[in-house]
Symmetry: C2
Subunit: 371 residues, 2 copies
């Protein structure tokens, strides 16, 4: 099993952009040194708790300060950008990183992000824009002449000009298609809701599926929708490509891990931001079902969350919880930890990160395949 990092970024609203930027790079450096495989960064402009408008600015800075870890914007909200501009930026950055890059794509889920671009707040354009943008980006990466005028976007690729004897280099174009080839670019998508249609789409497109975990039944539904989409197009499926995102804290003892979680940035984020959001969208229900406690989702408190929603504990406890999840879901290839804002006292968080990559994930036994 591999390990990854998801940096939403959950940073307190009072952090300055410079603090967010520097903390992002600190976490990426530590993740690189600890041995995580992947580092994913969100893209949002209108959520005070998720405040990186273009993840590639952070990734570019990380290119110079990391050696092995791969990076991805997760996700570029494709309907919110000019597809030709984004295509060449993605291709160029994948080359700057010499392949340590993959691409997350999504339609965007926050009405305010759409309003900022003059698009309908009901997000009715989000998916058709995503699809049209991706189609244009892929054509740009093919580097063959085309001109396309769609419902939302225009795009094209220029024909090679003839090389005059003098000034031939004036006519040359750089190659900003992805590292090695467009086919070598891994593309991934996330899903949150039960039976997410994004997962079916990811399967149809041959993308990698990522489950923002919301309970076992929701995670299973993500894989099932993915298989449904892939099968409908005759594409293979591989559980090693399936990533599951969780909040995880490791310390010497279960008690110590819970303390770091509840009293630190993880707990603060859930209290101030995620619990209200998750209650609003009924996302806590899946966790409550898994817990078998039968409590009302409205009554979940921090102790319940630390026990049943986060994965907190000693290395042994965390290994056991991940193995159980593996068996319950039927196997996945990468456990992804969400990062949190431990800016004021990063030490216990960074130690936990290192232990996850070195003491936990390498010891998780393979899943018992169920489907």
């Amino acid at each position: 099993m591999k390990s990854g990092i998801f940096h939403v970024p959950y940073m307190r609203p009072e952090r300055t952009p410079r603090e967010v930027f520097d903390y992002s790079i600190l976490i990426a450096r530590e993740a690189d040194q600890a041995g995580f495989s992947d580092f994913m960064i969100g893209e949002h402009a209108t959520q005070a708790w998720e405040s990186v408008p273009n993840p590639e600015l952070v990734i570019a800075a990380c290119a110079r300060e990391t050696e092995r870890i791969r990076f991805a914007p997760m996700a570029h909200l494709l309907g919110l950008h000019q597809p030709g501009s984004l295509a060449i930026q993605v291709g160029w950055l994948s080359k700057v990183l010499e392949g340590r890059y993959f691409l997350g794509v999504g339609p965007g889920a926050y009405p305010r992000d759409a309003i900022l671009r003059g698009q309908p707040a009901d997000l009715s354009e989000a998916r058709p824009r995503r699809d049209e943008a991706l189609q244009i980006m892929k054509k740009v990466w093919d580097r063959k002449p085309f001109h396309y005028e769609g419902k939302f976007f225009s795009g094209g690729f220029p024909a090679e000009e003839s090389e005059s004897a003098e000034g031939a280099e004036f006519h040359m174009m750089p190659d900003f298609s992805p590292w090695k080839s467009p086919e070598d670019l891994e593309i991934a998508m996330t899903a949150l809701s039960h039976n997410s249609s994004s997962m079916r789409y990811a399967g149809e497109q041959g993308f990698s599926p990522i489950s923002f975990f919301g309970g076992l039944e929701v995670a299973r539904s993500h894989w099932n929708m993915y298989v449904e989409g892939a099968t409908s197009k005759g594409l293979p499926t591989d559980r090693n490509r399936f990533r599951i995102c969780r909040d995880i804290v490791v310390a010497d003892t279960d008690k110590e891990a819970k303390k770091i979680a509840i009293n630190g940035g993880l707990g603060h984020c859930w209290r101030q931001y995620l619990i209200p959001v998750y209650k609003q969208f009924n996302i806590l229900n899946g966790y409550v079902d898994d817990s078998g406690t039968g409590i009302d989702p409205a009554d979940v408190d921090m102790d319940f969350i630390a026990e049943h929603i986060w994965i907190c504990g000693s290395p042994e406890t965390v290994i056991a919880k991940i193995e159980k999840m593996q068996d319950d879901i039927g196997g996945f290839g990468q456990i992804v930890m969400n990062t949190h804002d431990y800016l004021e006292d990063p030490k216990p968080w960074i130690e936990s990160m290192h232990r996850i990559a070195t003491e936990v994930v390498p010891k998780v036994r393979p899943a018992v395949p169920t489907a």
Copy 2:
């Protein structure tokens, strides 16, 4: 007088994106240490010799490796991007750099850059797109609710949502307007051609004027057009805001400087790229006029270029040439050196950069005001 760097980037077509990226940061670090005030980076996707599709990826990496120097994309080609996406990226990056940021804007001059976005190759949409995009960006920075549907772009800004007692932080928005305030963001534009209408526009808008030098008469026309534009709107003009870009090499002796120029990346760029381009667009004529030699522009050779187009020599020679230019043009506030591709042997180029910032520019006497 201040000193600046213009990094087009003139990098040989065979350089990889990673080489371009790393060399850009090397030059920025050296410029920062030498004492240059500003570092500007171009944005092009379809010229093999000017291959940075988004200068802000480089600037973000430089944010961590420099301390005093200011950065600018020069220029963001506004018609080629989604204005809302670009507005928040610019604002965020200006905050990441804590004010060490200013903004270049332009319409785009290369047909292939337009074709890539599905726009007319005759660039007929370039200026109206620039104007509409800038209008939207400024409204986004104002952070007041609006919805705008223009000829080319849509944009908007969401209204503040009411803060519920629970989940108030879900409703908070980050502030991605420029550092301090939108009014504190310096905006600049470049001009190349004689009597460039871009300079009148810059004057009308209160932007800073930058002359890509093409001879004294052309540079004077840039300032005159700028004053014309500013005066028409009742705006003040200040020659300290006027930047002039030149190719400059300093060494112990005139002979040594010319050798570094002709045999290095500067000479290679002119031979392979700029002479053919400049001949095609009649840009050499202004230099030939200044030289008083009366030669046919078709006959200029590298010795002519080193003597009459570049500013090469000992510190004393270079100081004298800049002072003469100051008097001939009537004064300007910043001499900007174009960077070139000395990747294989950076030492003489970097030494020249340091001497320009420390031995030349501080000793240039103020201009005799002429207008």
